[in-house]
Amino acid sequence: MLTLWLSGWGGVNWPWVPSLDLRLHFRLDGLGALYALLATGVGFAVFLYAWRYLPLHLEHQDRSMAEEPRFYALLVLFMFSMVGLATAQDLILLFLFWDLTAVASYFLIAYDRHEAESRRSALMALLVTGITAILLLIGALLLYAEYGTFSLPELFELVRPGGTLTLAGALIMVAGLAKSAQVPFHFWLPRAMTAPTPVSAYLHSAAMVAAGVLLIGRAYPLIEPSRLLLDGLLAVGGASTLVGGLLALTREDMKQVLAYSTFSQYGYVVFMYGLGGAAGAGAAAFYVVAHAIAKSALFLTAGAVTEATVGAKRLSEVGGLAPKMPFLAAASAVAVGTVVALPLTVGFFADELLFKAALERGEGFAAAAVGGAALTFAYLARFWIAVFLGPCRSEPRAVPRLMLAPVAVLATAALVGGLAPGPVAQLAAAAGESSVREPVKVAVAYHADLRSENVMAIATYAGGGLLLLCAAALQRPLGAFARLGSRLGPAHLYEVLLSALNALSDRIHDLEVRDLRTRVAAVLFPAGLLVLLGLISTPTAGSYDVGTIGTRDIGLVLMLALAVVGSLAVTVPRHHLTLALALATVGYALAGVYAFFGAPDVAVVAVLVESIFALLFVGVFTLLPAEVLDREANLPTRPSRRWRDPLLGIVSGGVAFVLAWGALSRPTPADGAGAEQARLAPEAHAKDVVTAILADFRALDTLVEVTVVAVALAGVASLLRRGRLW
C-alpha cells in the first residue's frame, strides 16, 4: 500500500453504470493512503491478536469453534470496505462502501449474537450510522442535480458557494459526524463495546469511527466554503471532546472508558477540521494516525487484562498488575503516553500540531484545546493507574504471547513515530493536501524552548494532574451529569423514537394483515380514493357516453345482469360452499360477457379457471372440520363491521365502475399498442394474436406468472404434505 502510494499510483477510473454516470474511480491520494494504511496496518495487528483471543472467547462462552471463520471473514470484509472507502473518488461509490462498513460492523458488533444486549447495540450502531448514511446519499444527489457529476475531483472544480452547496455539505457532514460518534450521535459507540475486544480495537480506533472523519476530510472542499459549517464542526467537536472526556472520568468499565475517550478524541479531529485551513487539515490527519495506533493498543490491553484476570472488566476489579505483567504495563504506558501527548511518542507532535492550529485561530480556541487535552490526560492516567498500580486484587494467569505482541508492536510504532516523526508528517501533509487542495506543511520537531506549544503542553500535564487529583471529588457532579444525559439525552430520544416507530409499524401491520377483509380493504380503499382523485382532476367532457343497445347485445346484457345478481348474491350466504358457488356464478357470467364481447380466448380461460377453482374450493372445504366451518359461518357480525365493509365495497366498486365507464367511452385509437400487436402477430409466426402476446410479445410476464404457479404448488405441498410433492 505504501509503495503503491509512494510510486504515485494513479488509481483506476472505469465506467461502471454509464447510463447513471457512475464510475469505479479509485485513487490512492494522501488521504486514501493514510486511512488505507491505518485500516490494513492496525487491522493486521488486530488480526494477530484475534488469532489467539477468539478461540479463548468462544471457549468461555461454550460456543463452537466453527464460528471462528465467520469472524475473520467479516473482519476482512470490513478491511476491504474501509480501503474502498478510503480510495473512492466518486460519491456514490463512497456511499456504497460507507454502507458496506455499516453492514460489516453490524455483524461484528453482534458477533456474540446469543446476547440480547449485543444485538441491540449492533442494531443501534447500524441504525444511527445507516440512517445518517441516507443523508450522505441525499447530499450526493443534490450535488449531482446541481453540477451533473458524482466525481469528487470534478465537483471540487465545479462547486460554487451557495445554498445548495451548504445544504449538501451539511448533509454529508452530519453523516460523517454520526459515524464518528460525535455529539449528539455519540451514544451508539459506548454501547457497541459489547463487541469482542478485537472488534472494539479495530472498529473504534482505526476503522469505523475513523471513517467519519475520513468523510469530512474527503468532502472538505464541499464543507469549507461555508463558515457556518466550519463553526458547526468546531462546536460539535468541542462538545464531543468535553462530553466524552467528562464521562470517561466517571466510567468504571475499562472498555467504556476507552469508548468515551474515543469519541472525545475524534472530537479533537473534528475540531481541527473546523479550525479550517491547511494547518487544521494536516493536524487532523496527523492526529488520526497517532490516535488510531495508541487507542487500538489500549483496547487490546483491556482485552488482555480481562483475559489475565479471568473476566474482570471493571476498573475496581483489577489493579496492581504492573509487577505481574511488566511487559504489558510498559507497552500500554507508551500507548497512554501517546494519547496524552508525552514527549518521545508520536502523540506529542499530534498535540503540538493541534495547539499550533488552535493558536493560529485565537486564544479562546487554544484554551479549549488545552482544556480538552488536560481532560484526556486525567482520565487516561486514571485508567492506567487503576489497572497497573495499587494493590493487586488477583493473581493474573498467563496470557498468550500472541495477544501481547500486537500491543507491543503498536507501542513500538508510537515510539518510532515519536523519535522520527518525518514519515508520519509527510503522510499527514499529503492527506491534508487532499483535503484542502493546496500544499500543506506539517512541520514537527522537538524544541527545547518555551514556545507557546510547549507551554501549552506543560499546562496540559499540570491541568490533567490537577483534574486527576480532584477526580474523586468530581465523581458526584459528573455522575449526575451522566444520569441526566441518559435520562434526557439523545440516547433516550433514540429509544423513544424507536419504540414509537415500532408501535406505528405494529399498528399498520395490525390494520393490514390481521384479517383478510382489512387486508383487501387496505389495498382497495386507498387505491379507490387515489383513482377518484385522478378522475376528479381529469376533464370529463366527452366521457361517459351512454350508447344504444341493439337486439344483438341482448346476450351481453343478460350476462352482465347475471354478473350483477351474482355479485350481490355473494354478500348474502353465510356458508362457505354456497359462497364459493355464488362466486363461481359471477365468474361464469363474466366469461359469458367476454364471449359476447368478442374475446373468446379470455372467455375460455375464464371458464376453465372458474371451474378448476370452484372444484378446488370444494376439495379444500372437505379438509376443514365441519364444526369449524359451522362456527365461522354463524359468527355474529361485529357492529363495527356492519357499516364498514359495505361502505368500502361500494366506494371501491363505484370508483372502478366510473373509471371503466370513462375508459370505454373514449374511442380506441387506431394505431394503439393493440393494433400494432395484431399487425405483428403473423410475422411472429402466430395467427392468433392472444397467443402471440402470451408466448412472444409479453412472454416475460407469462414466465413470471407461471413461476408463481410453481411457487403455489410448492406452497401447497409444504402446507399439506410437509414439502413432499407426492
Binding site: 379457471v609 378448476i612 372444484l615 392468433d688 402470451l694 408466448a695 407461471v706 413461476t707
Partner: protein, 145 residues
C-alpha cells in the same frame, strides 16, 4: 360418486379430454387456446378420474405420479427457452426462427421456440393443478405417512 355409471363415463371421457387439451395446445397459434388453457383442461380430465375412482384407484390406473414433477420440468423448460437466447447474445425470450423467416410446418402448426415455451407452460399448469389435487386428496384421507 364411485358408481358404475360415473366410472364408465369418466373412463370414456378421459381420452377425448386429453385430445382436446392437446388440440387446444397446438392449435393455439391459429385459433383460440394456449398452453395455460390446455393445462387446465387436461387437469380437469384427471380430476374427473379422481372423483370417479377415488384417489388410490385413479393413481393406480393412470401414470399420474410423474405429473407434478412435470411442473418443475416445465418451469425449467420455460426458463431455458427464456434465457437460451441470452447465451447467444440476444434479448431474453427472443424466439427462433426470426420474424418472417422460413419455418418448418407441421400441418398448420409452425414449429418455433414459442411453441416450446407454450408446452412448458402446459406442463407447469397441469403439474401444479394435479399436484394440488393430489395434496388435497391425500390430506383429506388423513394420511400423514
Amino acid at each position: 360418486m364411485t358408481s358404475v355409471l360415473t366410472q364408465t363415463l369418466a373412463r370414456l371421457l378421459l381420452a377425448p379430454i386429453l385430445v382436446v387439451s392437446a388440440a387446444v395446445l397446438v392449435k393455439g397459434y391459429a385459433d383460440v387456446g394456449d398452453g395455460f388453457a390446455a393445462g387446465v383442461i387436461a387437469a380437469l380430465g384427471i380430476l374427473l378420474q379422481y372423483v370417479a375412482f377415488g384417489r388410490a384407484e385413479a393413481e393406480r390406473l393412470l401414470p399420474i405420479r410423474l405429473v407434478p414433477a412435470g411442473a418443475f420440468a416445465g418451469l425449467l423448460g420455460a426458463l431455458v427457452v427464456a434465457f437460451w437466447p441470452v447465451m447467444r447474445g440476444d434479448a431474453v425470450l427472443e424466439h427462433l426462427p426470426a420474424p418472417g423467416a422460413a419455418v418448418t410446418q407441421l400441418g398448420t402448426l409452425e414449429l418455433i421456440t414459442a411453441v416450446l415455451f407454450d408446452i412448458a407452460v402446459f406442463m407447469l399448469v397441469l403439474g401444479a393443478v394435479v399436484g394440488i389435487i393430489h395434496a388435497i386428496a391425500r390430506a383429506a384421507e388423513g394420511d400423514e405417512r
